[in-house]
């Protein structure tokens, strides 16, 4: 059936869409809540967060947390650590995919393409996603809101002379040659226009 019909009046799902953009930098999956000091948590504290999450699910399933449940939690956690930390001993016995929790929340009705930014714009992953190599658990680093996008488009210079694609911008090339301008920003070639992202 239509998923929209499934949304009951008073549901938090649809309406929370409006505010979620700023709310997802670091949160606790077990309580569905934003943790203000998430960045400061140690590995042990994160372990507690995750184990609580798993035990909650176990209790929901079985009703009570028995010794078997405790074993399960430890096994799961070990499995997560093993799978996530050591590539050489990848465990192929894991049945089925792990359910991922989506960390990055993006505005609706916007089109975003990584290739445009990474392959063409030569941006580093860290520019938008932060120091992912140092994150124990990945979290949303940037707000990924429209204002944030627009601001970057205003400041960032296009790889204008390197990529032959941009040769069709003859006027800007002339100005660069004459020394009248040193760069062309994304904004100047239409990077703020609605239909660059919304269509």
């Amino acid at each position: 059936m239509n998923c929209h019909r499934a949304i009951k009046v008073g549901s938090t799902y649809g309406t929370a869409e409006l505010t979620k953009i700023f709310a997802s930098v670091g949160y606790d999956p077990s309580t569905d809540k934003y943790i203000p000091n998430y960045e400061d948590l140690s590995k042990d504290e994160i372990e507690q967060v995750y184990k609580k999450w798993i035990s909650d699910i176990y209790i929901t399933d079985k009703g009570t947390l028995d010794p078997m449940g405790e074993r399960t939690i430890n096994e799961q956690w070990d499995g997560i650590v093993e799978a996530l930390t050591d590539k050489k001993t990848r465990d192929f016995k894991i049945q089925g995919p792990i359910e991922w929790v989506r960390i990055h929340n993006l505005p609706d009705h916007a089109y975003f393409n990584h290739a445009q930014h990474v392959s063409v714009g030569k941006l580093e992953c860290q520019t938008c996603h932060g120091p992912v190599e140092a994150m124990e658990v990945v979290k949303q680093y940037s707000p990924l809101s429209m204002g944030w996008c627009i601001n970057c488009h205003r400041q960032t210079a296009v790889k204008f002379t390197e990529n032959p694609y941009y040769q069709s911008y003859a006027k800007f090339h002339k100005e660069i040659a004459k020394g009248e301008r040193d760069k062309v920003t994304v904004e100047e070639i239409g990077g703020l226009e609605c239909q660059k992202c919304h269509y």
């Binding site: 239509n2 359910e99 063409v120 990529n163 032959p164 239909q195």
Partner: protein, 1083 residues
């Protein structure tokens, strides 16, 4: 009958300057909306104070929730092992073939995350050269038809036409197989009934079945039949095939009722060939073929012809005999004696004959007639004109019509005589509905002990069967097709079967317990097909040494052309004298009726496809039904009368319903006035009025229109005839209050003569004219269509130049700094533009359906269309010109013109529609608050407002549109929603939308060029309408790139901008319509 009108017109009202049309054209939104809503709410809403508070309460509650900072947890299941071919967000294309009976189109299927969402043409095919048809474009929606059988069914369960309840299941395949096999005996007389079967592998499967059941016969019939053509070729050449026609080699074409651009045999192929000699590439040395259509209703092909000769349906035989004798006397052949044609029409054909003979060897005569004698005479004509070997070729003979009327009629007899033990019906075959004598067929079917249907959706025949063994949709199937001798095409699945269906071939092989079936295989049909190709097709070629390489290449390309073995020439034979005695005789009846196939509905197989139901008929511009076309008579001056004065209030959206009686059978039909309909005949489309087009409560196409098949007849030779003499049309008996004809919607203003002053004015701009004149063109003589005759081409070029200079002068007085913008913004980077060649556009509508598919354009239903709410981004305007009673037609695809000085942009209070530096007029749904000022201000009337929640995007069921007898609205079902293009926003209620020049495709094309570090080519950016067009009428590109195809076409002096005098600086160039009309035929 020289009733020439110098201007173009769209209907009677524009000729008579009716104030109705003026009113309609002045208003963007017809009807009093407030009044309508009030009436609706009285019946539907019944909002009282408590309800109001309830809604308001919800609003407050929602705001409170929104203010809190909760976030939803969203989970995703990643692939453990990601399939190589699927990259999220990136489309994958597979070559396949659209096949429905004899309809064939090689295609590329666009899939996103494993879902087929769009059909593109396959340019590797030498038959269609990348073109598509509306039917092929729309077929992707049929995959997600909610009416489809979810698995095998047995009539013992008693609910064949009902959708299965969730969680319940019918019999298993094993149970069905067991039951059917128990009833089949080796000596059983089995009849497999289907439409034209294009697939050699299917035929092989039938042969393998026959090996176990030797009394099996494959009965092919086509509901709209070319059986007489096949028989005529069998008699004249010894081969019952449709030859390969070369319209591109013909400079003189005569078509007797063959709608070869619309529905006849292979329209995509023919349209591409036809326009080759119809487009004007160079004004100086312009050449055009000459095309005469002899017909008794305005067909799509007839509307593109230079001259039409109007005859009554029963005069067809006499007309062919007349032309035969004229050509014979000019070429020294012997005349035949046959029925005579009224002298006025015969004189016209005499003139046609001389032009045909002049182009001997470059002439082509085709006929859609299903009369053996007539088809033989047409063969005789082509022989005299030296067409064989030049414009007609038997070596590449077409397989696209194989049906025999005699065979199916013989089956009816056999069944009624109790001589058939089992009848199997292939998908698409529906003889219980689409035969002229379907009642007799149904009676006979009752005597057959075992009846099995392979149909994927419920239809009239399937519901009479004992078992349903539903086959896959073609997008889930393995298969092949041989549309022409030596031309092979593969069908490959693009999605795993959505339901518990099984391919027909596998069902047959299972029941026959054939050893050729690999039961252990995951995909038995794949193995069977591959095996068939290895044995039969691989040896036909020498290019590939191994079968695997051959298979991989064929599967990748989708098509394979085998080198044809040299064929011995065979002579032309056949007794023309005897043929002439078999042609139909003119009737003395006052009124006759002809039945024809439309572009969208076929013989009714497409009834359950809302994209095709809501695609306006190119000629009548009606949707959701077939309408009785009645003649319009000119009585001098502004006096235009319709037959029996019917449909006086057509432009108001009210049409008359009449009772039509043929052969004693009465049915009611809604009327549409049709210019170019002969005075003594009416016409009605076939394929409408399906009783059961799908499952109960889910079928959109049930009981839409009138079923004309029972009015057809069978001639002495056993072939179905699609006309009837002695028809009685009653006076008005009722009124259709929601006349769904888009003719009068979104009018851009048409000129007419002011009845008071005799001056030429704009019909819709009369008020402006009385207020003042001069500013920005004074709004007189709006430039919508430029057209001219081939011989007066220099004058036309001069006229366009003059008008454009005039417009430029008027536009010079403006506050809009176009030159400044051009120099600073548009002249660098991209500046998108489009070119539409009105001579290449045949009006087939493929672009319109492609646009719907690409851009998630909602369907709204008959009632909504009736009140001007159709949502199509691209409409094909149809204008008449010339003789009132026998006009020429010009089609104009009209989409957002992406004006650089756009009037819509200036009036938006929330800046929801700004302009881009690439010249695009951008529509941003997120910002739109639905004031509709933009739509009011658009001179081209291309903006559409979401009056209701057509896509079920919001929470209130009351906002949804319910346009058919269905449990849930169209696009509310998750199955249907799988067809949505994820790159395009699904619009909600209350926002305006319009053509975006397929901006998602432009962005994708630009990105490809950027990633490859090169200049953008015009092949990177192609709009959906452009790729769908079978004739290349639409070209899109960057006008700053002076080397691309677009820029070359922009040089043509026949180009003009629509409404250039309004200084909106539109981006779509149209190339004027040129016809090669022979004035001598007007006399």
């Amino acid at each position: 009958m020289k009733n020439q009108n110098k201007e173009i017109w769209i209907g009677v009202e524009s000729l008579t300057n009716d104030p109705v049309l003026q009113d309609l054209a002045r208003q963007e939104f017809a009807g009093n909306i407030a009044e309508e809503l009030a009436r609706e709410s009285a019946s539907n809403l019944s909002t009282n104070r408590r309800d109001f508070l309830k809604y308001l309460g919800f609003g407050l509650g929602a705001a409170t929730i929104a203010a809190s900072c909760e976030i939803p947890v969203r989970k995703a299941i990643p692939y453990v092992v990601k399939p190589d071919e699927i990259v999220p967000g990136v489309a994958t294309y597979y070559a396949s073939s659209f096949v429905q009976g004899g309809d064939y189109c090689p295609v590329l299927v666009k899939t996103r995350e494993g879902r087929p969402i769009k059909i593109e043409g396959n340019s590797l095919s030498s038959i269609t050269k990348g073109g598509t048809s509306a039917r092929a474009q729309a077929s992707v929606l049929s995959l997600y038809d909610t009416s489809r059988f979810s698995g095998p069914e047995s009539s013992a369960d008693g609910n064949l036409g009902q959708p299965r309840k969730r969680g319940t299941s019918g019999p298993s395949w094993e149970q069905i197989d067991k039951a059917i096999m128990a009833k089949l005996k080796p000596e059983s007389r089995i009849r497999i009934v289907g439409n034209t079967v294009l697939s050699p592998a299917t035929k092989q499967a039938v042969a393998d079945f026959k090996a176990k059941f030797p009394n099996t016969e494959l009965i092919s019939y086509d509901p709209i039949s070319s059986a007489a053509l096949l028989e005529a070729n069998a008699q004249c050449f010894g081969e019952a095939v449709v030859p390969s026609y070369a319209f591109d080699k013909a400079m003189a074409i005569v078509s007797f009722d063959a709608d070869f651009l619309g529905a006849w045999i292979s329209p995509v192929e023919y349209a591409a060939q036809y326009v080759k000699n119809r487009t004007i590439k160079d004004v100086k040395d312009a050449k055009m073929s000459y095309h005469v259509q002899v017909e008794s209703h305005m067909s799509l092909t007839g509307s593109n012809a230079d001259n039409r000769i109007l005859i009554k349906p029963s005069e067809m035989g006499a007309a062919i005999v007349a032309l035969y004798n004229e050509v014979a006397s000019l070429t020294g052949g012997s005349k035949v004696s046959g029925p005579a044609l009224p002298s006025e029409k015969a004189a016209k054909l005499k003139k046609v004959a001389s032009r045909l003979v002049k182009h001997s060897g470059q002439a082509l005569v085709v006929s859609g007639s299903n009369n053996l004698g007539e088809q033989m005479l047409v063969n005789g004509l082509n022989a005299m004109l030296d067409s064989y070997g030049n414009t007609i070729d038997f070596a590449n003979a077409s397989m696209q019509r194989q049906g025999s009327d005699k065979q199916i009629q013989n089956l009816v007899k056999e069944m009624n005589g109790g001589q058939v033990d089992a009848a199997f019906f292939l998908d698409g075959a529906n003889p219980a509905w689409d035969l002229p004598n379907s009642a007799t067929f149904v009676k006979g079917l009752g005597k057959v002990k075992l009846k099995v249907s392979f149909s994927g959706t419920p239809n009239e025949t399937a519901l009479l069967c004992d078992y349903i063994a539903p086959t896959h949709h073609w997008l889930e199937s393995w298969g092949d097709a041989e549309p022409k001798r030596g031309h092979y095409s593969l069908i490959q699945p693009t999605i795993a079967p959505l339901f518990n269906t099984r391919q027909t071939e596998i069902s047959l092989l299972t029941w026959a317990q054939s050893e050729k079936l690999n039961k252990e295989s995951d995909q038995p049909m794949f193995d069977y097909l591959k095996g068939f190709w290895e044995t039969n097709l691989f040896p036909q070629q020498t290019k590939f040494a191994t079968f695997q390489a051959f298979w991989d290449s064929s599967l990748h390309d989708g098509v394979f052309e085998a080198p044809l073995p040299p064929r011995p020439e065979f002579g032309f034979g056949g007794d023309m004298g005897q043929a002439a005695s078999k042609v139909r005789k003119p009737s003395k009846s006052e009124m006759e009726i002809s039945f024809f196939e439309t572009v969208n509905m076929g013989a009714g197989q497409y009834a359950n496809n809302p994209w095709l139901q809501e695609m306006p008929d190119p000629i009548a511009r009606t949707v959701w039904g077939n309408y009785l076309a009645i003649p319009v008579m000119w009585e001098g001056g502004n006096d235009i009368k319709s037959f029996k004065n019917l449909n006086q209030r057509e432009a108001y959206g009210h049409a008359d319903i009449v009772e039509v009686e043929v052969k004693g059978v009465k049915q009611q039909a809604t009327v549409v006035r049709q210019f170019g309909q002969p005075r003594d005949s009416v016409a009605l489309a076939l394929g409408y009025g399906r009783e059961t087009a799908g499952a109960m409560g889910k079928a959109l196409g049930s009981k839409v229109g009138v079923n004309a098949f029972p009015w057809c007849s069978i001639d002495a030779n056993g072939n179905t005839q699609y006309y009837a003499e002695q028809v009685n049309v009653s006076d008005r008996v009722d009124e259709d209050d929601w006349f769904a004809c888009v003719q009068y919607h979104h009018s851009m203003g048409v000129t007419g003569t002011d009845p008071k002053t005799g001056e030429t004015i704009n019909v819709d701009e009369k008020t402006v004219m009385t207020l003042g004149s001069g500013f920005q063109g004074g709004l007189v003589n709006r430039s919508i269509i430029y057209r001219g005759g081939l011989e007066e081409l220099p004058e036309l070029v001069e006229h366009i130049k003059e008008k454009r200079t005039e417009a430029a002068e008027l536009n010079a007085t403006t506050l809009y700094p176009f030159d400044e913008y051009e120099a600073n913004i548009y002249s660098q980077g991209h500046w998108w533009a489009m070119h539409v060649d009105l001579n290449a556009c045949t009006g087939c509508g493929a672009c319109q359906v492609a646009c719907v598919a690409e851009n998630n354009v909602p369907m709204v239903g008959k009632h909504e269309v009736g009140r001007h709410h159709e949502m199509t981004w691209l409409r094909i305007d149809r204008y008449f010109f010339g003789d009132y009673e026998n006009p020429n037609v010009v089609y104009q695809p009209m989409m957002c013109q992406h004006c650089d000085n756009a009037p819509c942009e200036n009036v938006c209070p929330v800046a929801a529609t700004p302009h881009s530096s690439e010249g695009l007029n951008q529509m941003t749904y997120n910002r739109c608050i639905g004031t509709r000022y933009c739509a009011n201000n658009c001179p081209y009337k291309v903006r559409r407002f979401n009056w209701l929640d057509y896509t079920t995007a919001d929470l209130f069921a009351i906002n949804e549109v319910d346009f058919a007898d269905t449990d849930i609205p169209y696009l509310a079902d998750n199955l249907t929603r799988m067809v949505l293009n994820p790159d395009v926003t699904v619009r909600s209620r209350g926002v305006i939308e319009k053509c975006s020049f397929c901006v998602q495709r432009l962005q994708e094309g630009k990105l490809t060029a950027k990633r490859e570090g090169r200049k953008l080519h015009d092949t990177d950016v192609k709009t959906a309408c452009q790729t769908a067009c079978p004739t290349g009428a639409i070209v899109f590109g960057d006008r700053n790139d002076k080397e691309n195809t677009l820029s070359k076409r922009l040089d043509n002096p026949l180009n003009y901008l629509v409404l250039e005098e309004t200084n909106v600086r539109s981006s779509v160039n149209y190339q004027a319509k040129v016809i090669n009309r022979d004035e001598a035929l007007d006399a």
